[in-house]
């Protein structure tokens, strides 16, 4: 099966958009190769900006560019931005309401061997708490590629969370991508699984195996964490009355929290949240890490079964 990374999809999408929209700028803090800006840089050197290892400058220069009508995509690793740049993003981009696109690769345990210093697990929490910010994490390379143009046309600040690892495709060329509109990857009757990012590959495989065992899991790709697609969640919960969330992120403050904040106020529903539980990651292959931290197909399957039995 063909594998792809969301960062590669992002790079393709941006190079394509650069041709179409002359206001698009791409910036990097000495990681342009890793954030897949190579094609953009080659094709549009006059709209490429290298700021050196200076992430605070990366996002604030982007804010300035946005002020004169450019559409800046500010790229680096998630641990550096928004990790190191949160206040600059808050003041000069969100409060200042400049449509900068913070595009951060190497998020989550999916980074693998580089270890915990480089595995950003808190960024969704940091970004979704900011007013004016839209938060998106695509589930595969194709979805990432498609999202780039929608993000550029979205006249608001956006946090675009991307991954290093290559994973199987969950969408195809015809799949729709609309900001704020979740996609159902698999219909089901007994329990709703809401996931974000490439960890949905593991989730969907788990759901397919459970189907054969007689447990019907509905799988929702919540690519837009903010604004949350409440309608799609409610529609599914009204059917299943059980919800499990899956994310390559701390369970605090990310997707699970977001769904819980919503459901607890309108339709309290028994809930299980899968993600990293208040700990740092470590070195290892991403597959090994996903298994150790409960995000592999087998571990997700086990968690779903246990949750359904106990509920």
């Amino acid at each position: 099966m063909k594998k792809d990374s969301t960062r590669a999809g992002f790079g393709r999408g941006l190079a394509k958009l650069g041709e179409k929209n002359k206001n698009v700028y791409a910036l990097t803090a000495d990681l342009g190769g890793s954030t897949n800006l190579t094609s953009f840089k080659k094709e549009f050197p006059e709209r490429f900006v290298q700021v050196g290892v200076a992430e605070q400058n990366l996002v604030t220069v982007a804010s300035g560019l946005a002020h004169i009508g450019k559409i800046p995509f500010a790229t680096t690793f998630a641990v550096f931005s928004p990790g190191r740049t949160w206040e600059q993003i808050r003041t000069t981009i969100c409060y200042n309401n400049q449509p900068v696109k913070i595009c951060s690769t190497h998020s989550g345990l999916g980074v693998g061997e580089d270890g915990a210093t480089h595995q950003m697990l808190e960024d969704l929490a940091l970004m979704r708490s900011l007013p004016n910010m839209t938060v998106i994490q695509p589930c595969d390379g194709l979805e990432a590629e498609k999202a780039v143009e929608k993000i550029a046309n979205h006249e608001k600040p956006v946090y675009f969370r991307l991954n290093r690892q290559k994973t199987s495709l969950l969408t195809n060329k015809k799949s729709s991508f609309e900001i704020g509109k979740a996609n159902i990857l698999k219909k089901g009757e007994h329990i709703t699984l809401i996931g974000i990012g490439p960890v949905l590959v593991e989730s969907l495989e788990a759901a397919k195996e459970l189907e054969e065992e007689g447990l019907s899991v509905e799988v929702i790709n919540m690519h837009t964490l903010k604004p949350l697609d409440k309608k799609t969640i409610l529609k599914s919960i009204n059917k299943t009355d059980l919800v499990i969330t899956v994310e390559d992120h701390q369970v605090t403050g990310g997707l699970g929290s977001s769904v819980a904040e919503f459901l607890s106020q309108v339709k309290p529903t028994p809930m299980k949240m899968l993600g990293v539980e208040d700990t740092f990651g470590e070195s290892g292959s991403f597959e090994e890490l996903y298994d150790k931290y409960g995000l592999s197909k087998d571990k997700i399957k086990k968690s779903i079964k246990k949750f359904v039995e106990e509920a």
């Binding site: 700028y25 006059e46 709209r47 900006v49 700021v51 050196g52 200076a54 605070q56 400058n57 604030t60 220069v61 982007a62 804010s63 300035g64 560019l65 946005a66 002020h67 004169i68 450019k70 800046p72 206040e87 600059q88 003041t91 000069t92 409060y95 200042n96 309401n97």
Partner: protein, 269 residues
């Protein structure tokens, strides 16, 4: 505007500023008083800006990085016709367009939102780079403080401006030697900013920032330099114009009460 008229205007501006600060009840006094000449000159004699068309794409850009001195910008803007004078007395009050630290979306004419130090020069760099690459002639002026040269973000921007030869960028540093906890050279010695900027490959002009003639000459020279970004190190007297406020860091972050206001206005008459 004639120098004589500008000098008179600065006096009026200072009076309005002190009344505004007194009414606000909190805020910063020393910095705004020290930067009165710079703001007055920029708005009246240097920047191409039109209060009726604050978003004119042909305008010059003024980025205030050290947002806490915004009261002086508000007073000068109001004087220039951006908004009615009486609105000055809403500073820091609920529902006011004059936020305690400037917010771009609250008041037409502001180019950014600032307060947290060290991020304004980078934004000015982004504006200047985009304009330069589009061959636009707009000028970009960024006002910073000496204290915010303790922020790493500022130095990232200084490197950047030199790398991209941002010759359409003029930075004016309010070198008043004070910050909130004391004198800059005690808190974190900055030593010679002039030497530092020279070695970072900027054009450097050092002036008395309370002298209108010198401000004018520096800006004209800065505008002529066509290869590098320019920094004007404006040595100012914090609290300028009011004897009991001058050079006192205690006046960085407080405003005059009624009695102090009365005393100050008597001196300015």
């Amino acid at each position: 505007m004639k120098k004589k008229d500008l000098t008179k205007k600065c006096k009026d501006i200072r009076i309005k500023l002190l009344k505004t600060l007194n009414k606000a009840g909190s805020g910063h006094t020393a910095g705004p008083l020290g930067m009165t000449e710079v703001f007055t000159f920029l708005y009246n004699d240097f920047l191409k800006i039109n209060p009726k068309k604050p978003k004119d794409p042909k305008r010059d850009y003024l980025i205030l990085s050290n947002g806490h001195i915004c009261p002086i910008q508000y007073v000068v803007m109001s004087d220039k016709g951006f908004f009615p004078e009486k609105e000055l007395y809403t500073l820091r009050k609920l529902n006011s367009r004059l936020q305690g630290h400037p917010h771009r979306e609250a008041l037409p004419g502001l180019e950014t939102t600032s307060g947290p130090l060290g991020s304004g020069l980078s934004q000015a760099c982004g504006i200047a780079l985009g304009l330069k690459r589009d061959n636009k002639k707009n000028k970009v002026v960024c006002l910073t403080s000496d204290g915010e040269h303790e922020e790493g973000n500022t130095w990232e921007a200084i490197l950047f401006a030199a790398k991209y030869d941002l010759n359409n960028l003029i930075q004016i540093i309010d070198r008043n030697n004070i910050q909130i906890d004391g004198y800059t050279e005690d808190i974190m010695p900055l030593n010679s900013l002039s030497e530092k900027y020279k070695s970072f490959n900027w054009n450097v002009i050092e002036i008395d920032g309370n002298n209108i003639k010198q401000i004018e000459k520096a800006l004209i020279n800065a505008d002529k330099k066509k290869t590098k970004p320019t920094v004007i190190i404006a040595n100012t007297v914090p609290g300028k114009g009011v004897s009991f406020m001058e050079n006192k860091y205690e006046w960085h972050g407080k405003v005059p009460n009624d009695e102090e206001l009365k005393k100050a206005l008597e001196e300015l008459k």
